[in-house]
Symmetry: C2
Subunit: 191 residues, 2 copies
């Protein structure tokens, strides 16, 4: 087998996604990433310049491999609710993207690669708008923002759920999510 420089890049990125998702930018350790990846520390600087470049690459990679996994299928109120639940379940199963997004919001403030992400988001907005037959784009935007925000946040801040829901019951969180989503989707489709 010959050199596979792309594989090295991917191994580094995968390890970086895990590490950054778990500990954030300030908490992540370059050494741990290189150890997890099985590659050398020095390769990180060769391929990504520095820690920040690696973070941005990892975030973009996580977005790319995740956002396309969920779509609105069919039309009507239930189709959007199904989409929301699918998104919730997917985030639950693959928490890296949600966590990375929150780290980005807290540590960076501004989004990485905003224009491309905006395009993808608008595509999802249109899916929702079409499924519900909405005239107003803003309503669909609000829906998507609420769904994504709630889903991510319920996943990431177990501490709040722990405090409000009492014992640590993950099923209750999902029930909270579904209840809220059902209400806002119904309300939106009514308008």
């Amino acid at each position: 087998m010959g050199w596979d420089t792309e594989a090295t890049r991917q191994k580094l990125l995968a390890a970086a996604i895990d590490e950054f998702a778990q500990r954030g930018f300030a908490g992540a350790r370059i050494q741990d990433i290189s150890k997890k990846s099985g590659c050398n520390r020095e390769r990180i600087y060769f391929y990504f310049g520095n820690k920040e470049g690696l973070f941005e690459a990892a975030l973009i990679q996580a977005l790319s491999t995740t956002l396309d996994s969920t779509s609105v299928i069919g039309s009507g109120v239930q189709s959007v609710i199904d989409f929301a639940v699918t998104y919730f379940d997917f985030s639950q199963a693959h928490p890296n993207l949600a966590r990375l997004t929150f780290w980005e919001g807290l540590e960076r403030g501004v989004a990485v690669g905003p224009t491309e992400r905006s395009l993808r988001a608008q595509a999802k907005v249109e899916e929702i708008r079409y499924a519900l037959g909405l005239n107003d784009v803003a309503v669909a935007q609000n829906l998507l923002l609420t769904i994504v925000t709630l889903s991510n946040s319920l996943l990431v801040t177990e501490n709040i759920a722990e405090v409000i829901l009492g014992a640590e019951q993950k099923e209750l969180r999902k029930a909270t999510f579904i209840q809220a989503v059902r209400a806002i989707v119904l309300e939106a489709s009514r308008a």
Copy 2:
């Protein structure tokens, strides 16, 4: 003026709340906290033991001085919506608590001082339950969790709002919040 050891503690805590809220636990610098507070680094270890002790004390302090600032006034659907909007505005004006809560969720995972916080949360839950005349506690819990989660999250993750809502329009975020809250409160009061 004589010694005022409590003032020293408070100055350190205030500076710590700012610093931790802004940069998180891993990102916060003890030296910056001491500089902001005007007190000596060494006082931190005298009063709080170590960085982690300071973080916990800061979080508890921020919770104490914030959570009691908002209550459900009156009864009916509108009273709960008003409460949510008040909470949203308060968080917007004082982002420290929301940010600290997210840092806690991301970096720690588990809540600091869960029992006391649970008690306070349950009090708020009862306010909501009473205002809407709900029989089921779980519905009121879901409401509070959704309100707090959405409010905090919309405040903290400007990156998501930026991507979905396009340009950076804070007013739109508030509209999203109110729209969602109205829907879920109405739905809950119907049940």
